[in-house]
């Protein structure tokens, strides 16, 4: 778990930190936001079908619903602002990290699947919150984009708490 947290944090933060010498722009931030949500939606959809644990499924349902809602708002905002999300090192890392996670999860089932999915959700939400705080909010130029990031942060924190709770209950079995 610890290792995967470090890997995810590295994926999320290293390219962004590199880019922040010039500062990442709003189009790149938009791409990171949309990709970060989509990666979690995809993992949640897999858990909805592959988990047989009621609490894990409930959490997966929430992830799909909440992150879909965030992406709907984010997409509506960038459309309104006439910003085209711009692919960048961070969004690419997120996408490939998400693909690797899906590949790992697809090979698992039962309790091993639940543990791997939830462990990854804990690490992933922590890494995304760090990115929101250290990279996305400080670099966002447009006030509405910044406001969206600020507004969405408490949801990610609540998801993290929920995932940690789930992680503790799974570990206790």
């Amino acid at each position: 778990m610890k290792l995967s947290a470090i890997v995810i944090a590295g994926l999320l933060l290293a390219p962004a930190a590199g880019a922040s010498a010039q500062g990442i722009n709003d189009a790149q931030i938009a791409s990171i936001v949309v990709t970060a949500n989509q990666v979690d939606i995809d993992a949640g959809k897999l858990a909805q079908t592959q988990s047989s644990n009621g609490e894990v499924k409930k959490f997966a349902n929430l992830m799909v619903t909440d992150h879909t809602g965030v992406n709907k708002s984010a997409t509506a905002l960038v459309t309104k602002l006439k910003v085209t999300p711009e692919d960048n090192a961070t969004s690419q890392s997120l996408k490939s990290g998400g693909d690797t996670n899906l590949k790992t999860l697809k090979a698992l089932n039962g309790a091993a699947f639940d543990k791997a999915y939830v462990d990854h959700e804990v690490a992933y939400h922590q890494a995304v919150i760090d990115a929101v705080d250290k990279t996305l909010i400080p670099n966002a130029k447009n006030a509405e984009l910044k406001a969206l990031l600020v507004k969405v942060r408490p949801a990610f924190v609540a998801h993290l708490e929920h995932a940690k709770h789930l992680q503790a209950s799974l570990g206790g079995k």
Binding site: G69, V70, A158
Partner: protein
């Protein structure tokens, strides 16, 4: 003069007994105000300004909005007096209390 006083006091009585409508905003994973006191007969409107659904669910089964979609609201008329702690059943960290006097 007496009549004027009478109608004035009647007007006041009517004003105080008229049910009021209170609004609670759901935004940023919080109920604002999270602690609300109303009079029996008043209505409370919970407006979901977040990007995803929430619920207003009494912990003692006194009321349950079920899912309130983003941009939608749910109205509850508080008939019974009492203190009603509630939460979002989807996001249990979101807590509130409705006090009906």
């Amino acid at each position: 003069m007496v009549l004027a006083l009478l109608s004035c006091s009647m007007g006041q009585a009517a004003a105080t007994s008229k049910p009021a409508t209170h609004t609670v905003t759901i935004e940023g994973m919080e109920f604002k105000a999270s602690d609300l006191t109303v009079k029996a007969g008043d209505s409370i409107v919970w407006v979901n300004k977040d990007m995803f659904p929430h619920t207003v669910t009494s912990k003692a089964d006194a009321f349950d909005s079920h899912q309130i979609e983003p941009g939608k609201s749910w109205t509850f008329r508080a008939a019974a007096k009492g203190e009603f702690p509630y939460m979002c059943s989807l996001h249990p960290t979101m807590q509130g209390t409705l006090r009906v006097k």
